[in-house]
Symmetry: C2
Subunit: 445 residues, 2 copies
Amino acid sequence: MAKSPHIKLGFILHGVGRTWNDWRHPDRDVNASTSLSHYQQQAATAERGKFDFLFVADSLSITEKSSPHYLNRFEPITILSALAATTSRIGLVGTLTVSYSEPFNVARQFASLDHLSGGRAGWNVVTSWLGDTAANFSKTEHPAHATRYKIAAEYLDVVKGLWDSWEDGAHVADKESGQFVDPDRLHRLDHQGEFFQVRGPLNIKRTPQGQPVIFQAGASEDGRSFAARHAEVIFTHAPTKEEGQSYVADVKARARGFGRDPDQLFVLPGIAPIVGDSDEDAEARYRELAALESIDTGLGFLSRTFNDHDFRQYDLDSPFPDVAHIGLDSQQSGTLRILAEVRAENLTLRQVAERLATPRGAFVGSPETVADQLQQWFEEGAADGFVIFEPLPGQLELFVEKVVPILQARGLFRAEYEGTTFRAHLGLSEPENRHAAARRAQSAA
Amino acid sequence: MAKSPHIKLGFILHGVGRTWNDWRHPDRDVNASTSLSHYQQQAATAERGKFDFLFVADSLSITEKSSPHYLNRFEPITILSALAATTSRIGLVGTLTVSYSEPFNVARQFASLDHLSGGRAGWNVVTSWLGDTAANFSKTEHPAHATRYKIAAEYLDVVKGLWDSWEDGAHVADKESGQFVDPDRLHRLDHQGEFFQVRGPLNIKRTPQGQPVIFQAGASEDGRSFAARHAEVIFTHAPTKEEGQSYVADVKARARGFGRDPDQLFVLPGIAPIVGDSDEDAEARYRELAALESIDTGLGFLSRTFNDHDFRQYDLDSPFPDVAHIGLDSQQSGTLRILAEVRAENLTLRQVAERLATPRGAFVGSPETVADQLQQWFEEGAADGFVIFEPLPGQLELFVEKVVPILQARGLFRAEYEGTTFRAHLGLSEPENRHAAARRAQSAA
């Protein structure tokens, strides 16, 4: 399959915002995080804009110092199931960790979401990167970084196996003969692995997509390998076009190394475009956003990235403290990027905190400017598409009304959905059921 | 609070039916079990009939010999979340086992459902009674019966503790001062128990109901004690009015023994009314249903009740086999009831199977007859209300159109919903947040 001519677009559903203080914006509804109607509006707008999917992030541990958007949020499966009933085309992607859940339950919930939505489910497979999450799950410690990816690989294997429990013809339901199920097409999994032992079969029939779409967001060495091997969409972080290009080239080469078609793997950086009537207007909107944040915000973000280490104990204008040892087992890629910048530019703690508090990104400007940037990243191999955050209230609406039509006019984005399933929008093939494949191979032999 | 003058009514959502072969009825949609639109229609009809709640049963293990309604079903949290978006008043009760899930995840999912639905969530706490379920969850054996209820009690304690993480005033969100959360009103749980260690706090604020409504369905000795202590609604099985009366009297006495107000505990037997134009017409409809079943159905049901024991190996017309030892650790109350009937009436295997294949129940007749029976059970202390199964397609519609108006005319059922939350419909008080209660006690002292 040739590279798609279309940019893929996702929208990340969120309530009070993604930065520490953007909930303080006058137009922001402070109750949005647990408001179904808020999410329904976002979903309807994104679907009107022909977005490929909605995305729900997640986390499993808070303290009273956590960022507002972590403190209070819908559980992903529930909000996506609700939106399945009020949308009709857009994909529905939920984050769910393999570290504190059971593969049988997760396989079921996503299969159920795929049926509910007529084939629009996606699962963002994460391994959970906050050490204190273990304390919410009767565990004394969080598994080490490398172990988490071993667990994740086996977990995903089990889930995909359960999704193959029912072949397409298994659900016979012949009223005349009284046969409800064809026992030859309903399969136990009988998985006996290092971390999991799961018999199956799954108690829900094969879903409209065969398998929900697999997302991954790993950026560390282990995470990239996992993503290149298992993911169909990678949600990544690319602060610059060059970093995007290098990331895309790297994971697609890895995917090729695993024998995969790199065009069946989409890399989508998360971006927070700010659209204005003109470049100057957009810049003014960015400054309005930046004015909401403080140094404390950046320090809080640092703390979260470095395993809840307290950065308020250090002098702001001294060189960045030596915390390399803390970061290694938490969100590895994030800590390494920060430490690299510190070394390269000899930054103080204050400077690092400022940069983190209000990331500006490359997508601030008039609708044409933003469309130009998106096109450039897409055509120059920095991205197959984007996951859009809404940094200021009203920005999704502006993006849909002003930027999407430009992309459509340039032939870079769909004018109408290609089909009814999320796989159809992405141009991803439906994974063949393993048992049906074996049967086909046998009868050909 | 005095005993409610109103019958409570729930409807159990289901697809292909509750007995082995009722999916073979000409009017039954064989794809109903995973059809959102089918469930939406059932939900809309029940809400039009002012039912208190929708109920979703569950199970976690199948073989190719399982009953059709076990084989293929929606996961409860997903279908209820979807229905939260398309209904506005009716309660939404889901079954979820404590044996193969994490209290943090379950507390979150039900809290999320309660927010999504504006305060309409209920949780049916079950301990899972099929021995082979363990094999789907990397466990070598299912915990023994008594242990399961010890686990359940601690689990529920953890979930309720997590639901109290946020006091009502904790979500400050003051844009002026920049305070998002009041740390004095956001609480860690720090639970250190025999089976669970959970730190908290939960990452979703206090829900509209404070706590979702707690259902339980235990019928064994351990189950009754658990239900009397912890449940707000008991979903039970009562084949006769006398058994209903004895069960109600028993659990309400137990509840009183635990210091609870027995009028804040509702006992609802599951029933499958068959409404016809006349008693004769209803009887004919029952026979139409019974004709769909075979001896094999009854044998399959026996097998499921007795831990997947194969009853097809025995002669149908010999005395019922000696299987008392098999049943004890599975669905205790069900096996004991069957064995008692066998002893009392000296039944053959065929006779037991026939009785199990097509239970008729006490609610078959004209709308007046069915309404009379419901009234009698209610007024004579055999039930506080009922959970309605739909044994034949169209029966829910008939019940809503024909029976509900009679109950309303007799003052036995609401003409309109009392409020917006499920607790309001039931007349159940909202549990006070434990930390708010402590604060109140302290300031009173």
